[in-house]
Point group: D2
Chain length 369, copies 4
């Protein structure tokens, strides 16, 4: 099926493979009149660029975005915005084992099972490099949200057993360490862990958390298009994610109703609020005006240099060792992917919420007459 | 937006409110020629029916399904199957506080924020009773899957801190206790916990786990319509779910690559398999032929008899106590909902996988000439 | 595929067969707060009800609509509105030839080719009776449009060779004759034609024209979701339609650019207008503020009492004569179907146009803070 | 809304403006294993290339396609196929009147009404140049259809009052004259007409007809996704189309049922057939195995050098004359656009028809085990 599109009113379609010509995206449904230039996109792409520390692949890619359509005289026109990041590292090389065997934890086998063959170069379409396109699209969504007073912020919450400490949380620190942790002390401990795992030719997983401020209450739909359901799909669509949580997430299973319920309160200054936010800003699939909180659990990078048992295309039981330099952890680079996928999802729901009420619709069209 | 539909080729649209005329569903895209009668649906509905134990609401509903269209001479015709469960318990009554105040943990406030007002009777559209419609639709999906050799099975894995023990796991026990736990000992402990919480006018959350056997490798799509992404959306669309996990789920964050990777193996008898199944049957968004495993974390029932702080429509800070008899836990009745939503999702992906390859398409159309 | 839904933000899903339990529809995405009662729907249904003249089938159906969900205290709640018209004329009878042979001009053969078998009772799902559901849904769309200043009006423009005369056009006459023609003189001539054809056991086709007043400029989308493209789909989805025209339609092929182009003009009182309206109110897929004009060409009723050559299920070449009393022309009853399908299409585009511009979006959300 | 995508299982998303960087398309859902190279696409693009005769714009564009993704080792991989045609003619120039006034018959005014401003260079997104992307996508659809035994062929049926003569019809002649008419004599007459209109600084409209051979019976869906409804949308989405007809089209309104009905017949050699094909191969929205016939009425090119009355951005009533060399008729170049849009639509319905029946589904999955 055609599964490379996401969103309804703000719809994103990605294309491209790891070692093909490039990675691209078409953003359809972007409102007209948004000031937009390549630099707006580039700052997001730079956050997932490889080669920034010893904890990321050395692949040498500038990842410069080009806007090919949909922007005129510095503003979006309302028509599709096509963007591309050309692949520079396309040199022909020997893919050896990868071309004819199935790497554990990768999609090699499942692609072959589905399509009959696959583009094996660097994982082809299943490569994490596809997320470049999502980040480019999400940068636009984030810019629109910001104009509407909504901000989306993600960070590394844990790597292996190293978890950031609430008391040391400082979002400014996110840029100060190569792991995108808002806690430099935890980042130091995590680097020790990574160094150890790298020396063991092994890899590490972790958690990305994302919070959203400024989302008005009343966004999202009952039943299947709940805001959390759409977020769940968005985040699970990122490779290597094995769990998604909203608010207190998995912890709610051991809380009682009295513990978990967030009572509402009202005061003149802040309007309607809640005494707590176990719910993570969503009730019945609809935003309640509190911070929206979503968490993604990423597995460890499956590409490891250790020998692993697997099979090849001839159905022989073999051992392989993945060559080359791979990220020992993908979590830090996934931070901006979670952030932008969240932005895309929220913007789409926010736009569709404009049609929820007759009174607002009448006011909208009355105002244009 | 129109958010009451789910699925693409096999598409489900639900309607109805807790205390309205009834709850219904239209299933569009069901293949023609499937033997189908109301009893096929009823066995699934009976599994979520209220009033079956002291741990479920006493609401007296037979929940008998009627098929209104799409079946002729005992077989599906390929056209929409409309089903309805009429509400019997519609007596007019005094909704008191609920009508004019916002219950903590419920969607009362968010519905008002979105729509300007709401059907407050029993939670209206936000009631868990809406899942009746999903179960009816999913019963059809499950029947089709079974004809194709795919079975979907869910059960209560934990309630509060009481978790089933792997060594005692026996799926046959699921029907032997009122909590749908495949471990009677754990079920006993859980009942003690529930009794205690009920006496405290409090409630309990828990985990539903679902496993799928027989799904062929190669089903699901790369990128946004990953099988796990669609499952994530399906499960998060069930009220009260705050986390969804695939395979090892949240645990993967503390596993290394060497621990988490599932090596492939081959033997003549079983074909391609894996040494382990941390991945839960999905790699790169596509099924790998192993069991698919998905877990949902449910929060405790928000309706509790304890006094809770909240606000009313006049923005006054008040206290309310939810009257009436409510399920002290929704997990056991949610088991069949998770099972059927999983079935709907998998069937939809399975059908769309028929168009993945030119050779299979050519064979398909060649065969009909 | 799941083909029984139409629309994106305002989405309609129909179900039911001619001689099944009933015909129904789920309207999802209807804005909250619209005053709505069954009488609002019934006035539209009464316009397509059978048995109103000797030119319509004698099938005795009251076609009373019931609203099953989505309305509370007289207003739409924003959640799905389920409506049903129960079939009264379900008596078991001998369907004879129809059950085992393929009526020319009907969908009997194509349904069998697609699904392997069919509900042959009264045409099953392919019956024009399915449009009952569309009319019910479209009545809601029309009511919303009216609140926004947009009116949709259809009428019979021609039956066979009898065409209404521009100079006698009076929309009030539409209700004065049984053929829904806004020209009583033409209606008389058409009745003569119908009487003649009925005596010959034959039937007649014709044209329905629909005009829309008050649609603001700027609604519709470039490229695939052009307003005329969506209208084209909507109207072609009505059974027996073999051509759809916008504005001057087929006539444009013999006009030169100088003749066909509508120059723009401006005056203070009326704002932007056009010297002519060959385009029928749509340019580049987007409304231009002039009247939108759409026309549908209906073929003659295929059910005729004359003997016709065809085949049966055993692939024998046979002759059949369709028994029973059938409409000698479907055009007059199709008028309200064209009108309501147009309303559904326009409303959906109008709602989605709310998200076209950043400035309007910012104003919208600014206004709610 | 996001309106630049078409199709469900085989989904096409176009981007680009007339004088921007290029025109592109992403084809998602193309089955894996189809041999595909740029030359397969180029032969279709060459059929709509400008500058081929004095009846087309002199714009000098090679219109060479590049495939950017989705093809590996000469075969489609099943993942998105991104294609681009770079614009060569991007020189900055003075757009004069066009930038600040509204050309009659063009989308200038409606784009401004919708988006608040527009890319005025060569019509921007509303330019016929966008169809380059559709042709590229449709070339792939046509190739797949051909492998399944289905061929799609379009031609110019009329220009102004010059209509091809049935008795002289010879599809081979389509390539022999610059107007794509399968009747060289008519083509000569049409050229005279065009020469005359060009000398008058005027332009001409016409009709494109398309026939499809080899489509099996049983493709298409009842109700909203009727094959003719989807074709209607596809063809109306092409700029300048003001009418779409299926089979006898508009003529059916003056035929009686006895004249219009196509009786079925059967013989051992040809299987099920019909005595005539007034229906154009579709009954009840589903293919009947006969040739599918669709016709599109195009208006005359709105860009004419004559002076025309209109308004400018300041709402002043002015006169403009469109400068530059424009196609005096767009019909010949639209032939391949109609052909490829038809191919896309039919392929999408054909793929979805694979899931219509349980027996076929069971056989499909049984065969892969």
């Amino acid at each position: 099926m055609a599964g490379s599109s996401f969103g309804n009113l703000f719809r994103v379609t990605t294309w491209g493979e790891s070692h093909g010509r490039g990675i691209g995206v078409v953003v359809d449904g972007c409102p007209a009149g948004l000031p937009l230039c390549e630099e707006d996109i580039q700052v997001y792409l730079d956050r997932r660029k490889p080669g920034q520390s010893k904890y990321t692949t050395m692949r040498n890619e500038a990842d410069k975005v080009e806007i090919l359509s949909g922007v005129f005289e510095g503003k979006t026109t309302g028509t599709p915005i096509s963007m591309v990041v050309w692949n520079q590292d396309q040199r022909s090389k020997d893919y050896g084992d990868i071309a004819v065997s199935y790497r554990p934890g990768h999609a090699d086998y499942t692609y072959d099972a589905k399509y009959g063959f696959r583009d094996y170069r660097g994982g082809g379409r299943s490569s994490g490099r596809e997320t470049t396109a999502r980040v480019a699209a999400g940068a636009i969504a984030a810019k629109i949200l910001k104009e509407l007073g909504v901000t989306v912020t993600a960070y590394t919450k844990s790597l292996g057993n190293v978890v950031i400490e609430e008391s040391r949380f400082d979002i400014a620190m996110r840029e100060e360490n190569p792991l995108n942790m808002p806690d430099n002390k935890a980042a130091e401990q995590a680097q020790e862990l990574l160094n150890k795992k790298m020396s063991e030719m092994d890899s590490v997983g972790g958690v990305v958390e994302c919070f959203v401020k400024g989302m008005p209450a009343g966004v999202g739909d009952p039943v299947f298009d709940k805001l959390d359901a759409n977020l769940g799909k968005a985040i699970f669509s990122i490779g290597a994610v094995k769990a998604v949580e909203i608010g207190d997430g998995i912890k709610v299973t051991t809380l009682s109703g009295a513990e978990d319920n967030d009572g509402f309160l009202f005061d003149e200054e802040n309007g309607v609020g809640k005494y707590s936010n176990h719910a993570g800003g969503i009730l019945g699939g609809i935003s309640d005006g509190s911070d929206i909180i979503v968490r993604a659990s990423f597995k460890a990078t499956p590409s490891i240099a250790q020998k692993q048992k697997t099979i090849n295309h001839s159905r022989e039981n073999i051992e392989i060792a993945i060559k080359g330099r791979h990220d020992p952890v993908i979590v830090p680079r996934a931070v901006v992917v979670v952030e932008t996928m969240t932005a895309i999802t929220l913007l789409d729901s926010l736009l569709s919420s404009m049609t929820s009420r007759m009174d607002a619709i009448k006011k909208f069209f009355g105002g244009t007459q």
